[in-house]
Amino acid sequence: MAARLAGKTMSEAAEPEMPTHALNAGKPAAPMVRLSAVSKSYWRGGEQLTVLNNLSLEVAAGDFIALMGPSGSGKSTLLNLVAGIDRADTGQVEVAGVDLATLDEGALADWRAANVGFIFQFYNLLPVLNAIENVELPLLLTGLHADARRTRARQVLGLVGLADRLDHRPGELSGGQQQRVAIARAVVADPRLIVADEPTGDLDRAAGADVLALLGRLNEGLGTTILMVTHDQHAARAARRVLTLDKGVLVDSAGG
């Protein structure tokens, strides 16, 4: 993110002056995510369950997508495939111009480190590390020097409003604060895509609204593509587009 933040201050990035959804509206953009005829199934109790069925989808760079649908509709599976932590049975998953099927596990891990930021429902912070150390983690996979890593992590925590909580461990933070640390961790290495699985699912309404506002600002201020799974209509309204899945197929696509 530092590269993209280089020309602006943290506060500018955090509090963009751009109108909501103005950045990419009406602009043709190269797809950040392209799924072509993707299918995925699992074996449960000796029975094959098709979770995604011949699904095709394109997400433009800089877009903010909310994926909705009932439980078992394939939202999280779709998110996992796009994030490169699961593989499709058939079809092609192309993200940022890379066909993920062509990467072996090691290369896929490197690709994730460089391109994807993760936000989980239950934050998934490492409990023995404090906030700044959790945020610094993804930067270990970059070539940055320790001092630069620490500076960057501090800046990003400031961006998410946690400059005064750097040394707090996850257990010492509220759910909303933990999720903001998780968001800082997701964006600190300047990924091109952020995948968020129910980022507000474990938060109260106020904390959830804060998190959504933060994601919106990141999307608009930095142009980061965001793919968010949610059950919450209110959360979905923060996105530019809402895609609805049911039984592994895309049943609806609407502006946010």
């Binding site: 994807v116 993760f118 239950f122 409990p127 590390l129 983690l137």
Partner: protein, 386 residues
């Protein structure tokens, strides 16, 4: 300290009681392993201290049957033999009989010249030679009983009945760590003279001959020559290298030593299982954390370093502590068993083996946990945290 190193260290200290108990298990295992190995080494000390240029000639029937004193001159004439010493087990009882130490009746000039590892000052040596009522003892033995030069050492005869009193004229030191300083030497001529006076059936009998040879490579041929000299005589001999002689003693206790060695490895196996179980529990508890790291792009190299690092840090720290404790503990055990195992010491290679065993436990115990973490799909592991 790097972030990953901090993560490793904090993970290690996360469940302090579990870490403490696992570490304690390794400490005790290394301690037990080292003690048992030292016991086995102490059994082998005699063989290890054996010289390649010394042969032992004994009665072919049994060690308990003596050889005629007249054999000595015939052995000395065999080409390649440099010197012949005599030794006879005295077997006296000191005070109440509960404080055992070995005593040998020797011909001092020949015998001591064959054992340069027993260092005796010229003054003590001269005093010993001068007076047949004198005895010399090893430094450890003198310290053990608080004897000083000039003290009288009373022994009650067992094989050779009667009260015996010896004046302490010299104290020898071991020139090597395996030289036994727990023995007492007295004059063979004194013993034999008294046996002659009493017309004892064991008069003019020698327990073993210690035969010095010029060339260690000729040990086998000289041994055969010695034995051939006395073939079909009334006292046939069996000659072997000093090492083989000691090993023949050890053979009698070989089963016991096999059991001791086996137990030392079983102790390690038990702690290996305990540690593997503790690590398996740990990685199961943290599987979503490892999955998160994998999702963030950390590859097998990082995960292996984190998990194996934690295991090895614990194992090496506990192993080092076990090795450190082994020295004073072995010293105390050595004091308790010095009557029978005077050379119970911890050799450097035992410490090295203990350390390597601890590191080995740390390496092996981590195999399954690493395999588990690398094998579990990220999505499955993340689901388990929900």
């Amino acid at each position: 300290m790097g972030l990953l190193a901090r993560l490793l260290l904090r993970n290690l200290l996360r469940h302090r009681l579990r870490t403490l108990l696992t570490g304690l298990g390794i400490v005790i295992a290394v301690l037990a392993f080292g003690l048992l190995r030292s016991l086995v080494d102490a059994f082998h000390a005699g063989a290890d201290a054996a010289s390649a240029t010394r042969l032992i000639t004994r009665n072919a029937v049994s060690l308990t049957v003596g050889l005629p004193i007249t054999h000595r001159d015939r052995i000395r004439q065999i080409p390649g033999v440099t010197r012949v010493g005599m030794a006879r087990w005295f077997g006296g009882v000191y005070v109440d009989g509960r404080r055992f130490f070995p005593q040998f009746a020797i011909d001092p000039a020949n015998y001591l010249s064959l054992y340069p590892e027993y260092e005796l000052s010229a003054e003590h040596y001269a005093a010993f030679l001068r007076d047949r009522n004198c005895a010399i003892v090893g430094r450890q033995l003198a310290v053990r009983f608080g004897w000083s030069l000039g003290d009288t050492i009373p022994l009650k005869g067992t094989f050779y009945p009667g009260e015996w009193r010896f004046r302490l004229c010299g104290v020898f030191r071991g020139a090597t760590p395996v030289a036994d300083e727990g023995q007492m030497f007295l004059h063979f001529s004194l013993l034999n003279e008294r046996l002659r006076q009493e017309d004892h059936p064991r008069k003019d009998q020698v327990g073993v001959y210690v035969v010095g040879i010029e060339d260690a490579s000729r040990a086998a041929s000289i041994a055969m020559l010695i034995d051939s000299q006395f073939r079909n005589s009334r006292a046939e001999t069996l000659t072997e290298t000093e090492r083989a002689f000691h090993l023949s003693f050890l053979e009698m206790a070989s089963t016991i030593m096999l059991v001791i060695e086996g137990v030392s490895w079983i102790v390690l196996l038990v702690v290996l299982i305990v540690m593997a179980n503790a690590l398996a529990m740990t990685v199961r508890e943290r599987r979503s954390e490892y999955a998160t790291l994998k999702a963030l792009g950390f590859g097998p190299r990082h995960l292996v370093a984190l998990i194996a690092g934690e295991s090895l840090l614990l194992a090496t720290t506990a192993g080092a502590l076990g090795c450190l404790l082994l020295l004073p503990v072995a010293a105390r055990v050595g004091l308790a068993v010095q009557d029978f195992l005077p050379l119970l010491t911890v050799h450097p290679q035992t410490l090295l083996q203990g350390m390597l065993a601890a590191i080995g436990v740390g390496c092996v115990a981590v195999i399954w946990p690493i395999w588990y973490v690398l094998r579990v799909p990220v999505t499955a592991a993340l689901r388990s945290s929900d």
